[in-house]
């Protein structure tokens, strides 16, 4: 469960480059809900995920995850509640470390890391099983360095890593944007499988209207740091990409004085 209330984030406050990335954003996500997030460049999508993960700080408003107020928590502390896959395949893993070392890092998310061995037989067996589910042959390459993998393989492993510690909230920031169409489709499919199987609460940012409608159960659009529409249920089912684009244009084209106009 996620609850973001009246959150404001400003970059470079008091400088000529002052940028109000989030301007009183509200969003509630129920347990097990899979929300897709759209919006033009600079709308604040990544900042929203950063404010959830702790990479950006809310200067006003509150952020709750699983009923806990985490507004003041630093990123590492929030990792016990939240897992994340980045847009850049390089960002979510350590290329200098091996596949199994990356997985061991993720498996220990949210627990104390002591002086026990990071890798042992049972863990390697578990990682091998998990990797086998990807069907990419990575189960035989546990000791290969992460840097040897392709972007798609790395995103697939990143997704797998996000599930190892049993956290229930998953943040995905255009995690297929850097991939070719076929690989992107594979990673999206894997995302859906993982979210379903583990009953995760997920927020997925995407630049593809098609993907936004095809995945999850609810779609929100951000514009200038706020949620400008939020569709679900029958209304969303009836929508196709052109409808969504029309909504998108309406919001961007004219300065809306009242968001409810859109939703009525």
């Amino acid at each position: 469960m996620i609850s973001v209330r009246d959150v404001h984030v400003t970059f470079g406050r008091g400088t000529p480059l002052e940028n109000r990335a989030l301007r009183g954003l509200d969003l509630s996500v129920a347990d097990g809900e899979f929300i897709t997030v759209i919006g033009s460049n600079g709308a604040g999508k990544s900042t929203l995920l950063n404010v959830l993960s702790g990479d950006a700080r809310a200067e006003r408003g509150t952020v709750e995850v699983d009923g806990i107020d985490v507004t003041r928590w630093p990123t590492p502390k929030r990792a016990s509640l939240i897992a994340r896959v980045f847009q850049d395949p390089m960002a979510g893993t350590c290329e200098r470390l091996t596949i199994e070392e990356n997985m061991a890092l993720a498996q220990a998310r949210g627990r104390a890391r002591g002086l026990g061995a990071a890798l042992d037989k049972p863990r390697r067996a578990l990682f091998r099983d998990k990797l086998a589910m990807l069907g990419l042959g990575l189960e035989n390459r546990l000791g290969d360095s992460m840097g040897l993998l392709s972007g798609g393989q790395r995103q697939a492993v990143s997704l797998l890593m996000s599930t190892l510690a049993g956290t229930k909230t998953l943040l995905l920031d255009e995690h297929t944007a850097a991939l070719d169409p076929r690989t992107a489709a594979f990673v999206l499919d894997l995302t859906r499988r993982i979210v379903d199987e583990q009953k995760l609460t997920a927020l997925m940012v995407t630049h593809s209207m098609r993907d936004a409608l095809d995945h999850g159960s609810r779609t929100v659009m951000l514009h200038e740091g706020k949620v400008v529409f939020d569709i679900a249920g029958e209304r969303r089912k009836a929508m196709d990409v052109p409808d969504l684009l029309r909504l998108f244009k309406q919001v961007r084209g004219e300065e809306l004085s009242d968001d409810s106009l859109l939703l009525s």
Binding site: A79, L97, R113
Partner: protein, 307 residues
């Protein structure tokens, strides 16, 4: 080169193997180019020598030197983390302060330790073995004692880097944003890593004082470059990235480097003097960095200055 000179080169190489391990932790594991060590090596020597000269048990004196080195490293990490001072500058600040502190610790610029008890005495049980080989007693004992210490510490470090805590430290250096997203407190790992690195270098200083028989405020100059030279040389000899091999290659690199220096200084036709050591080191490291294909540690010095 004479046997005594060779043993002497190996001895100093073993001392610098510990420096190389320290440099490996900061430059390679943490990606935190730390220049504090030019001050930490003489700090370790100063603390150990002052305490031994004052009648303290050499083991305690050596442990105190390690603690002092860890503290110095923590100051550098603190300057960098708490005040966002560039790591290079933070290290230079601490190093500069240490030059004064070291003089305070010693009281005089040079403390001789001739005929004082040292940690080497605890290895006297090796003497009968050495006697059987016919090698010169005292120098051989020093080499063997240092070898044992260095191997034990190298093994402990390799083990440490394979623990959950050590792996988290490696992730901190390799990809700090990812590390934080995985729940790793990267600041804490930088503190521990830089402290550990400087603790190792201070230990090298303490052992230097006890094997060379003196501590001097000036012994620190060029420590960082000598440590880097050992790391680079080791990496050039062994080209794999596994932790155990990397640590072993630091040790071999340090010894090979000292032997090469000794040979160069020994070759009369080159016309080099002992005081040319830093010049020779700088030229060698410079050449190593120019070579293609050699992992370039100076790259990491500049990498982080970009936003």
């Amino acid at each position: 080169m004479s046997l005594i000179a060779t043993l002497g080169a190996i001895e100093i190489g073993l001392v610098f193997a510990l420096v190389a391990l320290g440099v490996y932790i900061t430059f390679r594991v943490l990606d935190f180019p730390d220049l504090t060590v030019d001050g930490t090596l003489p700090l370790g020597a100063a603390v150990a020598a002052a305490m031994i000269a004052g009648g303290v048990n050499p083991v305690f004196a050596t442990l105190a030197a390690i603690v002092a080195g860890c503290l110095a490293g923590s100051v550098t990490a603190w300057l960098n983390i708490r005040f966002a001072i560039l790591h290079l500058l933070a290290g230079i600040l601490t190093m500069t302060a240490l030059f004064s502190i070291n003089l305070r610790v010693m009281g005089v610029p040079n403390i001789p330790l001739m005929n004082r008890p040292t940690v080497i005495d605890f290895f006297a049980w090796l003497n009968p073995l050495i006697a059987m080989t016919g090698l010169p007693g005292r120098p051989t004992l020093r080499v063997l004692a240092l070898l044992i210490i260095v191997l034990v510490i190298g093994a402990l470090l390799a083990r440490f880097l394979k623990t959950e805590f050590g792996l988290a430290m490696r992730a901190t250096g390799a990809n700090p944003r990812m590390a934080r997203a995985q729940g790793i407190r990267t600041d804490m790992h930088v503190y521990v890593g830089v402290a550990l690195s400087n603790g190792l270098v201070a230990l090298a200083g303490a052992l230097f004082a006890q094997t060379a028989g003196f501590a001097d405020v000036s012994i620190g100059t060029g420590t960082i470059i000598a440590g880097l030279a050992a790391v680079i040389l080791g990496e050039t000899i062994f080209r794999t990235k596994s932790i155990v091999v990397a640590i072993f290659s630091c040790l071999i690199g340090a010894i090979a480097y000292r032997l090469a220096i000794a040979l160069a200084l020994n070759a009369g036709w080159l016309g080099l003097r002992a005081s040319d050591l830093n010049l020779v080191t700088a030229v060698l490291v410079g050449i190593a960095l120019m070579l293609p294909g050699v992992a370039n540690p100076l790259r990491s010095l500049f990498k982080r200055s970009a936003p």
